[in-house]
Structure formats: C-alpha cells, structure tokens
C-alpha cells in the first residue's frame, strides 16, 4: 500500500533520515520503534508528505505521493498526529464530524459510522462536551475516533487504504492503550495498511506483524517482532539488556535483565 525507497531528510543541515526504505501492505500492522530522536515521527511525516524529502520516493497504492490530490488522498488515508490541541471550544461531535470533509456520504450513513466508532471507543458520553475541557487522554481518544471515522468509508468499500498513527497510546491508561491497539489491528484485518510509531516495545510486539527499528535516522533492523527485538539488538540500540518474553496464553512482554547501572 505504502512504499518508500531510500528516503533522505535533512533539516537545517542535520541528517534526520538516511536511506530509509519502508513498505507496508494492506492488512498488516507495522510498528516503527526506536530511541528518542531516531527519526520515527519524521519517517511518518515523510510518508504523509508533510516534510520535504531530499531524495528517495514514496508511492501510495502504486501512485507517487506527489501525484495524489489532497482530497482523494484523504479518502483512503487517515493520519493521527502527535499534536491534537484545538484552541476553540468545538464540541467533540463537531470534531469527529470533520472527518467527513473529503467523503460525499449521505448524512445517515455517516452518522451510522460515527455512532459505531464512538461505541467502539466508548466515548459516547463525551460527544456533547466541549473538546477543550477534556483531559489529555480523552482528547487523544476523540482524535483517534475522528481518524478512524475518516477511514471507515474506504474500509466498507474494500478500497485499499492506510492508517498512520503517531504515538497513539502516549497519554492513555492501560485499558485504553489496549483498546486503541486492538482497533488499529482490527482496521488492518478489515484491509487497511497500518503504520504506527510507538515507544512501548511490548505493545509493538503484541499488536504488529512487522517492526522497523530506527536509530539515528537509519533502519537498524526490520522484520518479525521476535527477530528484531532480540537481546543483542536492544542492548545495542537502547543500551538496555532486554528481550521479548513469550509466555503461553499471554501477550509478549519485555523481560529486562538487571541493568548494570541499577543499584
């Protein structure tokens, strides 16, 4: 669905991404992980066309990114950015309904989509509230609902589509972290290509099909979670002796060995 070849991004002479190639297919969840400043968010922005790419090229559904017009793109691609503050007191409902901009859907059909998504994210009781009065986590869930609504028409029509989310679980409690991951995974099962930037390696391993590990603007490893998040790699990238641990009947978790620095 999204293909990027040998991307290079420099900002003010500093190399942010260097020869990064990336691919995500319909139906899979790909997680992008890495330490702070590794270029994860920049990679996501590059895939969205939000930063100037010095070299390399990106295609979405086989078509070069720059040839897409914004409205057609908005029909098949939804993005959740890290910043989601709104300065004016829109109601939650109004915010979510903004997702219908690119779609030409009858009102009832759209309302059905919104109702459905709001039930899934259990934000029904927030819908008549003012967005500016919500807590950080609530705001994030509402923005995720908006993004999910934007993608629903494409999912229903079985059109190839993509969901790109940047740290969707940053402000959330454990339950809502799982809830959002579950919904991202479900979108992939319905046919979307899902790309997510996450910090939590255990969550990444639990909900993604493949992982890209970025460090200082380069892809250090990519592939199945088990093969990427191994002891040697994590020691090298994060300087933490850790590995994935798989207990039968449980989601993968991160087993951290006693750190040499700890007392």
């Amino acid at each position: 669905m999204i293909n990027a070849r040998r991307l290079a991004v420099n900002v003010g002479g500093k190399v942010i991404l260097n020869e990064v190639s990336f691919a995500v297919d319909a139906g899979e969840v790909v997680a992008v992980v890495g330490p702070n400043g590794a270029g994860k968010s920049t990679l996501l922005k590059a895939l969205c066309g939000d930063v100037t790419v010095q070299s390399g090229h990106i295609t979405i559904a086989e078509k070069p990114l720059h040839k897409w017009d914004l409205k057609s793109l908005a029909k098949v691609r939804a993005v959740l950015c890290q910043s989601y503050d709104v300065e004016f007191p829109f109601l939650v409902d109004e915010i979510i309904n903004m997702a219908s901009f690119a779609h030409q859907l009858p009102l009832e059909k759209w309302q059905e989509i919104v109702n459905d998504v709001c039930v899934k994210l259990d934000i029904n009781e927030l819908r008549s509230k003012s967005f500016t009065q919500l807590s950080g986590g609530e705001k994030q869930r509402v923005q995720f609902a908006r993004v999910l609504c934007q993608l629903q028409p494409a999912l229903h029509q079985k059109v190839p589509c993509a969901l790109l989310i940047d740290e969707p679980t940053a402000n959330l409690d454990l339950f809502h972290q799982f809830q959002i991951m579950q919904l991202a995974k479900q979108s992939a099962k319905q046919g979307a290509a899902v790309v997510m930037v996450v910090h939590d390696l255990a969550l990444a391993a639990s909900f993604s099909n493949r992982i890209y590990l970025l460090e200082r603007g380069e892809v250090k490893a990519s592939g199945l979670p088990d093969s990427v998040l191994n002891m040697a790699q994590l020691k090298q990238t994060y300087n933490i002796p850790a590995e994935l641990s798989q207990v039968k009947g449980c989601l993968p978790s991160l087993k951290v060995h006693q750190h040499p620095l700890s007392v």
Binding site: D85, L91, F101
Partner: protein, 351 residues
C-alpha cells in the same frame, strides 16, 4: 489554553433562530439610526417620505443622501471587519487575532495619509487621475502593498508560518507608525485636520458614488469568506490535520489573506482605522454559538453590522452638532474588552 468557554450549546434550529433574531435587531437598529440625528424623522415623516410628499423633501434628501449612504457603509464595514476578524482568528488559530494585527489596517492608513499630505505636490498626477477616489485608492494600495510585503516575508522563511506572519505584522505596524509620524509633522493645518480625523476613523462625508466600489469589494469578500466556512473549521484542528482531512491549506490561507486585504483595505479606505470590531464581535458570537464557522461567520457579519450602526448613531448624536470619530468609540469599548480577555486567559493558564 487560549480557548474561551462556551456559555451555551445550541441546537441547529436554535442557532438559526439566533441568526433571525440578529437580522431583526440589525433591521431595527438601522431604522432607528436613520430616524435619529440632528433632525429626527418621525413615523408620520416616514410615511410622508414613502408617499413622495413634496413638503418633506428636505428630510427625504437628508435621509437618502446623508444618512442612508453612511449607514450602508457602516453596516458593510462592520460586517467585513467582523468576518475578516473571525477568519483571521481561525487562520492564526488564536482568538486574539485581528486584521489590524497583521498590519493591513495601518498599511492602508499610510496609503491614505500619503495621498492627503503629498496629494498637492509630489502625487499631483495620481490625485488628478483618480479625483474623488484618490484617497480611497491610495489607502487600498497601501493595504495591498503591506499584504504583499508580509506575504513575501513569510514565504522567504520557507513554509507559510503563522508566527513569522505575526512578527512581520508587528514590524510593519512600527514602520507605518514612523512614516505617519513624519508625515504628520510635515503637513500643514488643513492637511493635519483631515489626517487626524481620518486616522481616528470616521464614516462622515461619504456619498453613494464614492462608496459603491468599496461596497462591491466588501460584499464579494464576505461572501467568499463564507464559502470557506468548512475548510476554516478543519483548519482550527491544525495545519497538518486539516491537510490530512483533504483541505488544501496553502490555497486556503492565501485566499483568506487576500480576501481580508480586499475587505479591510476597502473599509479603511473610506472610514479610516476602526479597531477592535474584528476582535470583539467574533468573540461574543463564539461564546453563544460556538466556533463553527457555518454560524460564526454570518452571525459575526450581522453582529459587526449591528455594532457599527449603533456606534455610528452614538458618534453622530453624542456631541451634537459636532461628531465623535467612530474609531474612538470602538476602541474605547474594545480596548478594555481585550484586556479583560487577556486577564481571563492569564488566570486560566496559571493553573
């Protein structure tokens, strides 16, 4: 958090009702404004004028040649300033924004003042060419030049950036202030009187011939801004998010900016700098109707028109037989309101 809280949450039909009430209020205030003044027009007089009675011809010409053009201008200027204020606030994603802020108003003022002071000497041929319209055209050009400058400055920085736009506006306001000061010092007595009165904002002395081009420009700008209502809503989510939802944000910004330049240029050209209307009105409307531009824009236009028609009535009648520049009234109301808003935000930010 800069957001203003909402007092009410209205349903769609209630919002429409508010628009109807505002329209009726505007009609009433216009009628009152036409009737009251140095000579007042009673109901009987109205009927006589409507019937074409020759005995009230004097009143009739006061009405159609003095009060009506002035009122129509006040209403359109109020609507334009409020609509552009609302649009600028969306583009800046900051409820304190105002067309005056980015230097358009003062740029237009500079254009007009240059025409007033230099019209008899250096710019003689310019004045001869445009005749009656020389000062308005000068003001309009001033506004457009400032817009062009600010726009170019912000493009230099790469992406069209709101902060650099604001800073450029501050710089241009300062430059324009300096030029106006220099011209004030070098002007003679008559020029000084014209200049001072004009720079405080006044609706006086405009005929239909004179205001017609500006009315067309302002009407067009207001209508075009209303067409951007949904895109403006999405823009409030943030530039990236709006883009991801399918809004061509760069085109939107250019369009809103240009329309604002046109509307504010035309308004300042005819009545000088009338501050704070573009700030106060959208604010109050937002408290009642919420930030949805589908209602915010038309309600702001109506509110701006009401505010200006009442302010004009006060400016005409409060110190009869003289009159107070209307810009003083709006600033006297707007300044304290602005400070109150700032204090409210400060106290909100502190916890």
């Amino acid at each position: 958090m800069l957001a203003v809280s909402r007092f009410f949450v209205f349903s769609t039909s209630q919002k429409c009702l508010v628009l109807v009430v505002l329209s009726l209020t505007l009609a009433t205030s216009m009628l009152v404004s036409l009737s009251v003044g140095g000579v007042s027009i009673s109901v009987a007089n109205w009927l006589a004028i409507a019937a074409g009675d020759a005995s009230v011809q004097g009143l009739s010409s006061v009405l159609t040649q003095i009060r009506l053009p002035r009122l129509v201008l006040a209403v359109m200027v109020g609507a334009s300033l409020a609509a552009t204020g609302a649009a600028m606030q969306a583009i800046f994603r900051n409820p304190l924004a105002d067309p005056g802020l980015i230097g358009i108003s003062s740029g237009a003022a500079l254009g007009a003042i240059i025409t007033i002071v230099l019209g008899s000497s250096v710019l003689g041929s310019f004045v001869a060419l445009f005749g009656l319209y020389a000062i308005p055209v000068g003001a309009f050009l001033g506004g457009v030049v400032v817009c062009g400058c600010i726009y170019r400055l912000t493009l230099r920085a790469g992406q069209f950036n709101v902060i650099s736009l604001l800073l450029a506006g501050i710089a241009i306001n300062a430059i324009v202030g300096a030029f106006i000061g220099i011209l004030t010092i070098t002007s003679n007595d008559q020029e000084l009187r014209d200049l001072t009165f004009w720079s405080m904002g006044s609706l006086a002395g405009n005929t239909f011939d004179m205001i017609l081009p500006a009315l067309i420009v302002m009407t067009f700008s207001c209508a075009s801004l209303y067409k951007q209502r949904i895109a403006l809503n999405l823009y409030v989510l943030g530039e990236q998010s709006a883009k991801h939802l399918g809004v061509d944000v760069n085109a939107l910004k250019k369009r809103v900016f240009l329309l604002t330049a046109c509307a504010v240029g035309a308004a300042v050209a005819l009545c000088g700098i009338i501050g704070f209307v573009g700030f106060i009105v959208p604010h109050i409307v937002r408290m009642f109707l919420g930030p949805d531009h589908k209602y915010l824009l038309p309600a702001s236009m109506l509110g701006g028109a009401i505010l200006m028609s009442i302010a004009d009535l006060v400016s005409r009648t409060i110190v009869l037989p003289s009159e107070l520049p209307i810009g003083l009234i709006t600033s006297a109301l707007g300044g304290p309101f602005f400070l109150w808003m700032l204090l409210k935000m400060q106290s909100k930010q502190s916890f």
